[in-house]
């Protein structure tokens, strides 16, 4: 197993043998902490996150702005600057420990085995570099293709992500494309070297609603075609409801509930998860139904509140919630964990079904 090959930091080239045992997880993050030193104090952006992504699977990470999703994705990859950033915990990727890797080794993983799709295709593509070269860069570096082969492959990639007349577009600059087209280009760049894991950081947030579903469908199609795992980071539970195998809900730098998608929707334990669900527009609701907003703001991550971090905004909070921090506990099924003293299932059992009967099927990506 590839896991046995870890722990040889002297290796100049990392090996990524093909693994047939699908039970062997691709990514295991354990107790990851990331903090930023700032003038006001230390910001604990990611505060003890553990998660697992299986090969070819999709994990959705959901949370509000400022919940630490983006920092988590970048910490997993190791992309954050080293200055004024403190990171601890372990990130085991295909048997290799990422947190202790030398920069030269990280660069063998980046782009080749693990890549990232950025939120804003307007700013994440170099404005003065032709699209073709932005794709061929990593092809030439990782796959050692020559100029011609790389160009041919880049054109094929552009075609596969649905860019019309790709030969011509390869010579274009990003500003000549629409937002949706740019995000397709970004996907082509991220997928160029057939990575095992793609971290998609809000890949549709910067796009028109009408384009969002197209991009997500494209990502899904590419995923199943290439058998890669995807970590889909979003603030929109509706985006991951039908696409993720498992969902992790993040709040104030922590995972507050994690479960397979169906379980999460059927047996929601954490009031914050419920609140996120209630903030999604649903087709089944009669028109004129008001969306439920979550009152208040996410807490200050320099001085997080005592007790449960969601307590100040939680409609069910009691004294115990404000006093002590709930640990991550296992629910009825072993693959479902949550952090809440008074989970919703205890509070409203079978008859409270009017609210908790919502299933993943009810939630659609905003455009559909």
């Amino acid at each position: 197993m590839s896991a046995r090959r870890a722990g040889r930091p002297a290796d100049r080239t990392l090996e990524f043998p093909d693994v047939t045992d699908l039970a062997d997880p691709l990514l295991v993050v354990n107790d990851l902490h990331t903090s930023f030193r700032t003038g006001r104090g230390t910001v604990h952006a990611v505060d003890g996150v553990s998660l697992t992504v299986g090969r070819g699977k999709t994990l959705g990470i959901v949370g509000e702005s400022g919940s630490g999703k983006t920092v988590l994705a970048r910490s997993i990859m190791g992309l954050l600057p080293t200055r004024d950033v403190i990171r601890s915990g372990t990130v085991l990727f295909a048997g290799h420990e990422m947190t202790t890797m030398a920069p030269a080794q990280l660069r063998q993983v980046w782009g080749a085995q693990m890549s990232m799709i950025f939120q804003d295709p307007m700013t994440a593509l170099n404005p003065v570099v032709r699209i073709g070269r932005q794709i061929t860069d990593s092809l030439r570096l990782h796959l050692r293709l020559d100029r011609r082969e790389a160009h041919t492959t880049a054109v094929e990639l552009l075609r596969s992500v649905g860019i019309p007349s790709p030969e011509e577009r390869a010579r274009w600059y990003p500003f000549q494309l629409s937002g949706g087209m740019r995000q397709r280009v970004m996907i082509a760049i991220a997928l160029a070297c057939a990575p095992r894991l793609v971290l998609a950081d809000e890949p549709t947030t910067g796009l028109d609603v009408s384009v969002q579903a197209q991009i997500l469908d494209l990502l899904e199609a590419m995923q199943s075609e290439r058998h890669m795992a995807v970590v889909l980071v979003t603030h929109d539970l509706g985006v991951v409801a039908k696409r993720a195998d498992e969902i992790a809900v993040m709040y104030a730098g922590r995972i507050v509930e994690r479960a397979p998608t169906r379980t999460l929707f059927a047996h929601t334990h954490m009031p914050y998860t419920r609140a996120l669900m209630d903030s999604i527009p649903r087709l089944a609701n009669p028109s004129g139904t008001r969306l439920q907003a979550i009152a208040g703001r996410p807490p200050d991550l320099i001085h997080p509140p005592k007790g449960c971090r969601f307590a100040p905004r939680c409609p069910y909070a009691q004294d115990k919630c404000r006093e002590s921090d709930p640990p991550l506990r296992t629910a009825a099924s072993s693959d479902h964990v949550f952090a809440c003293w008074f989970p919703l299932v205890d509070r409203m059992p079978a008859d409270g079904s009017a609210k908790s009967s919502a299933s993943a099927v009810d939630y659609e990506a905003p455009s559909s």
Partner: protein, 314 residues
């Protein structure tokens, strides 16, 4: 692209025309009447009419301009009142000196500023960066008239590597010419190095914060490659604009250095001509410098299209 260049070219012609009119009018703004000076004691009404006719000064001013322009286009800009040297000759012998000094100083400035900025911008506020930033701050504070004597004292008087003064035209002896040009060129370059370095460094630091740089890192590209192939070009826009203004200021702005090194360049000649009220020399040099400035800006505009594709296509 072509239409952009043609548009700029058309603008260049219009600006050149306006400059020529202003330069032509320069002489007409002067107090006094040329006929009374030329006639001296023979200043009668009849003589004056004859002279005005001979000089063409009785025709309308636009006609005078036209005559002047045709002559100017043929390289005839008149001659010095004092030395009888033609203005064309003064320019032809002086302009190459300015151009050469500017080229030397700018090549050195870019050759120093760009690599240093590329190295220090990667790790801002570290020792290396602090040394470079403080050093260029010092260069910025040293005017050429201070640097020139220091260079002369060290390299000419002390080490005898270069002559303290003197000039041999390039056509006569290229090697000696270049050798003589090095010290004045270096005296001019200090300010440019400081400005270019600081500008490029801060623009590079800003560019390195961009998403597309994180994106490039996530592709596995090395820092060096990211610096050269991703960050450098988008960081040169303001450098280019400032270089245009800076080089423009050096056109005939090299007077002090030319004076100190006794080089008969245009900067030197125009100051001399102004002092001696040699108006046609002033007029001729003003015309050439202004046109050169416009051509320079045209070149800068063209370079913008090279570094930033958005300029011509958007």
């Amino acid at each position: 692209m072509l239409s952009y260049v043609l548009k700029r070219l058309a603008q260049l012609v219009v600006v050149a025309f306006i400059i020529s009119v202003l330069v032509f009018l320069l002489v007409h703004l002067l107090p006094g009447d040329p006929t009374s000076i030329i006639l001296g004691g023979n200043d009668t009404a009849a003589n004056r009419q004859i002279l005005l006719h001979q000089l063409g000064l009785n025709t309308p001013i636009y006609h005078q301009y036209w005559i002047w322009l045709i002559h100017a286009l043929h390289g005839n800009l008149g001659q010095s009142y004092l030395t009888r040297e033609t203005v064309g000759h003064v320019i032809a012998s002086g302009f190459p000196i300015d151009v050469e000094l500017i080229i030397i100083s700018q090549v050195v400035a870019f050759a120093v500023a760009i690599p240093v900025a590329l190295i220090t911008a990667r790790r801002p506020n570290r020792p290396l960066d602090n040394i470079a930033t403080t050093g260029t701050f010092g260069l910025l504070a040293l005017p050429p008239f201070l640097i020139a004597p220091i260079l002369v004292a060290i390299f000419a008087v002390g080490l005898h590597w270069f002559p303290a003064t003197g000039y041999v035209p390039f056509s006569q002896n290229p090697a000696t010419n270049l050798h003589d040009m090095i010290l004045p060129g270096l005296a001019l370059t200090a300010g440019s190095i400081a400005v270019y370095y600081r500008l490029l460094r801060s623009d590079l630091i800003m560019t390195l914060q961009e998403d597309f740089i994180t994106m490039a890192r996530s592709k596995g590209l090395s820092d060096r490659r990211i610096m050269m192939r991703q960050a450098f070009r988008p960081s040169t826009f303001s450098l280019l604009a400032v270089a245009g203004v800076n080089i423009g200021a050096l056109l005939a702005g090299t007077f002090i250095v030319e004076y100190l090194f006794a080089m008969p360049g245009l900067g030197y000649s125009i100051v001399q001509a102004v002092q001696q009220r040699d108006y046609l020399i002033v007029q001729g040099i003003a015309l050439v410098v202004a046109i050169a400035y416009v051509v320079l800006q045209f070149i800068i505009d063209f370079l913008f299209t090279v570094v930033d594709p958005r300029v011509t296509r958007e």
